[in-house]
Amino acid sequence: MFGYIYVNRKELSEEDRKDYQSYYCGLCQVLKKSSGMKAQMLLNYDMTFLIILLSGLYELENKEEEFFCPLHPGKKKIAYINEATQYASDMNVVLSYHNLLDDWQDEKNYPKHVMSLMLKKDYARISRKYPRQVEAVEAYMRKLNMLENKRETNLDAIAGLTGEMLGEIFAWKDDIWSEELHCLGFYMGKFIYLMDAYEDLEKDMRKKEYNPFESMVKNDPRDFDTLSKLILTSMMSECSKSFERLPILQHASIIRNILYSGVWSKYEYIQAKKKKRRKSQ
């Protein structure tokens, strides 16, 4: 479920690009510090979004750290680290752990199994620290399995599970913003689940595996592209409205870039791929 919340880099200002990169590097550094090198490999952009959102909302003070990145030797990098970085790093480990377990069960992918075993200790530590969030993720995995086995066709019901789970993660603290953050995360989660399903649709149909869009594409193949785009748009529209209700001034231009444009990176990529294939046929 990772890999959908990108930024549109071309459209970022120089300063925003620097900030975005530094939050990303901060997450990488904190993953290493709290859960070791192995966790560093779980680094992703989706959690960077959460850090920037929470940093903007709570106006957190950053600690700026200079470091050398082995991937970019010879150049000093700057990492922004704050309270939200630690939180996002922990949530990153929890989500990755379940992702790895799930892939192990579905595909019998051994390296992923080994990786999940390596994370077990960190997972237990985080469960004690954030019981509400971890419980939400665990309940989610159970319910998702159940509905997928039932071949649920109601998009709201199936995507709502990811929404509920992400909502719990976005609602960092129990305070006046938790309800709105939950709402923002809820619609973003629905978007992520449906985007993932949209991407896998052809593969799933070929393999005769469950896909929530299957009945829709069968009932109305001609309008499917329009309908699915409308549904995805509706999710991001609700998500963005929720963001606009929050009093976020810091980093608002980065967050808007992600919400109104960056999240469509994967969609555009899929469309481009489809077009290319059609041409070559």
Binding site: T233, M236, L249, Y260
Partner: protein, 226 residues
Amino acid sequence: MRNPYEVLGVSPGATDEEIKKAYRKLSRQYHPDANVNSPHPEIAEEKFKEVQQAYTQIMKEKQQGYAGGYQNGSAQSGPYGAYGSYGGFGGFGDFTGQSEQRSQQNDPVNMQAAMNYIRNGYYKEALHALNDIPMGQRSARWYFFSAVANQGAGNNVVAQEHAQQAVAMEPSNMEYRQFLQNLQFGGTWYQNMGSSYQRPVSGLSRMCAIWCGFMMFLNCCCFRPF
């Protein structure tokens, strides 16, 4: 309660940015942490709450002005009140005003219960009451209620379908039409907000090498020797 714009010290025509700035300034000023040593910390706290409420109220009202399908007052909303609900033109309470007299006596008990639940922000309970009504008895009004309750409960796909169904069954009903339009307007608003950006494609080519390489490694290892 005082006029929320007065509380924040902004004009009713203020932009979102101005409102957010005013809110930030005042909430910092009255924050309980900043007033521990003041002679009357309880006054500051009172002010802090007032600023909070004023801000939330203004943002909700503003969104209702430019697109529908938003949150109702969350003061009394149920557990699912947070998913943005019907509030387009004054809320559910208002719209039922005119149609109430004519159809309330004819409404089954469950429909009346659903309406009360919706008014109070208990969307999940409203859906339960609505679903107890058998298929054969589902009128345009039923589909409309269901659309409102589903939107409130975060089921925005079903909400659209049922709003469309309500309009199709009773095309002359302006309330149903307007609700549907409000739902659809959210998408238009969103697309306008995104229209200033160029299409995002380069994002994927810049994926971080660690993650990318690592996943490739894991996936390559799928080819097990048996």
